[in-house]
Amino acid sequence: KSGVVIAGWLMEERPKWDNKAQYLLTCIGFAVGLGNVWRFPYLCQIYGGGAFLIPYLIALVFEGLPLLYLELAIGQRLRLGSVGVWNSISPLLGGLGIASSIVSLLVSLFYNTILAWVLWYFFHSFQNPLPWSSCPLNVNRYNVECEKSTPVDYFWYRETLNITDDIEISGSLQWWMVLCLVSAWFIVYICAIKGIDSIGKAVYVTSTFPYLVLTIFLIYALTLPGATDGLVYLFTPEWSTLLNPQVWLDAATQIFFSLSVAFGGLIAFSSYNTERNNCERDAVLVGVINSATSLYASIPVFSILGFKANNAFLSCINENILALTNEFEMPDQNITVDNYDHWVNYLNQTYPDQFSKVPLNDGCDRQKFLDESVSGTGLAFIAFTEAVIAMPGSQVWAILFFVMLFSLGLSSMFGNMEGVLTPIRDLKVLPKWLPDEIFTAIVFILCCAVALIFALGSGNYWVEVFNSYVGSVPLLIIALFELIGVIYIRGMKTFSDDIYFMTGRRPNIFWKACWMVISPLLLLVVFIFYVAVQARKHPTYPAWNPDYVDFPKTETKSYPDWVFAIIVLLCSVPVIPIPLVAIYRLIRRIMRRSSHHADSNPYNNYAFEG
């Protein structure tokens, strides 16, 4: 044990942040992740544009900020990782920390797989032409799968994932994916090798670089043709969506998952702070910056989607123009995009028979192309890569984009892994001779080995399973218990005293009202609705099946029973420690009390027992 000895007491040195900026950048980097770029714009799009901001901001103020403040405050006051914090508040709550750690571990596994995919695309952005711009040419016949879908789809589903057409068919380990996965874990390792000493330095780059790239994209995307269509579409509010309860539910869940609370990572980070630190201001800052980043990111995303829709519309119209020009033998470029409708009417009236013979594509509607909504990996690896091909200097934009995605994900990975490592370190179960770096390496190697599941042919389906079920219900339960634990078990009075000790003033009526009533209520409502919506139907997943009748549409398949069992496990295993540990400690307390009555040894000092 290292530290300094004072009057017979060994004071252990807890690692500290070098400066406040490192701490804030780490928290911001943890909160700001891939979801800010590829989930929030999607929600804005499907929920009536600007109108979605209202439930979103309400959820931020009444649910997000209180939870954030609570976690940062309790970690800073008790100065332990998630397991230690909940053990300190009450031994019965010890399972809460274990639950957080398990969730962090499971999320790390699939989250890093997404980073591996980003790395793969990054490595492939150094070619001219970009590999996803055209179908690979075979010697004899053309590639059926690629021709039926698009080169971009083909590159994602076949050359990157080599996806099987069913989750039951595991396929084999894709060696190139294994390489990228191992690379991703290596990169996270080198940043987390010395705990917050190295993380604190890494976040100077990983937390700030995305903003630089977003700004570059913002400026460039606004100059692209069709960008204004996308932006108008995004921000035009459709107030009627506010009447749909699903919108409020999604806003609440989005804020909750976006802020990365209940992972234990925020508690770990704030535990390395000095005790006198204004955590109220930190919480508000992190929360506001997270939401502002979501908004800021949606502008270039929608400009680019508008550009893409415009391209699709123009190519559709131009096909029709060509068909008409060829059929009626008119001079080239007499029919343009602008006078297309006029010409169509004229030709239809003047030569109806000949006009009906022309194979025209009826689906050339700007709105239709804008309505195609994508989120998640579909946005990054399909929609965006397609847009990038049409930009001059594609390689530069692709490289910038994928490095930005990687930075966003990397800084979130720090939080996930620290949510696992800090509690284990604090539990002091490690032998003294084991250096911290080796312990970290062992954890990473184990995680990497388990994450090889996601490098199988069916890996993408498993990532979806983990994403939908691990990163949702357990977190809601943990957050609910966190609120109850701090406010009701530790007590509002004690917690107010903690905050007074740390910041010099007690929390005001707004925070108290939120913690005691509003936030738990909101969380409970979100949880109940979430479970109700999920449980209503047997879960299904979109499968990429080249033999499907409607290919290239994805085939909706339902999960087989054994996968369903795994889903149930994923939802329940993280939260089981909460009741288990409580029961275990309760039983021990009852047994100890009964044994205390039976044998009262005056030399037994119970104060020092677990």
Binding site: V5, I6, R79, W120, F122, F123, P136, L322, P331, D332
Partner: protein, 218 residues
Amino acid sequence: MLDKILFLLCLASALADERCMPDTPHGFQVRLSIKTALGDEAYVWNENEMFLFRASLAFAMRNHMNGQQFEVSNIIVCNETMRVSFWFIVTSPLDTSQLIDQENVEAAIRQSRNRINSAFLLTDKTLEFVDILPTLATLYTHPTPPWLIVFGVVMGAVGAGIIIMLVSSVVQKKRKTNGKPQDKDDDEETRVKTVENGDAHDGVHNMSFSEDERFTKM
């Protein structure tokens, strides 16, 4: 003057050839989209351009069928429209009553497609030979996939970084254990570190109850 009349007559007779007609089994339809390709720098399609086209086709035929001296007069064009589209047939230089079959014409055009395109500053799409599919250019296949090279560079740097950090931490620990025995005895009882109020360290352990054998057991 006489030459001009003769030329016009020949042209007229060429154009008036009945074998050249839409959907002829011996020829092809050609479509040009000059404005689409060149925009503002588009040239006007006139007789001279048509002459160039017939000449380039004759060139293609000569390239393909070695030995036969095709002339511009062997390329017969008809049904020219404002689209700029027309049909053409190819007669044999040895006997103008004989037409070259479609397969040979197609093969000839395929072979010299690039040259014909360049003559008109057009592409496969804008100079369209209806029913003759353009051959796609083979994509360049790299000997080593470039992504492996980037991967190697990045992972090499990261791996080197990890090794450096691990080695440096080992070296630091060795230096600490070597330098420690001298000042350990001074530290234990005499060093008083001012602990500011609240700036406490964590994990306060009451050494009296620890298992450490530095202290006498209770």
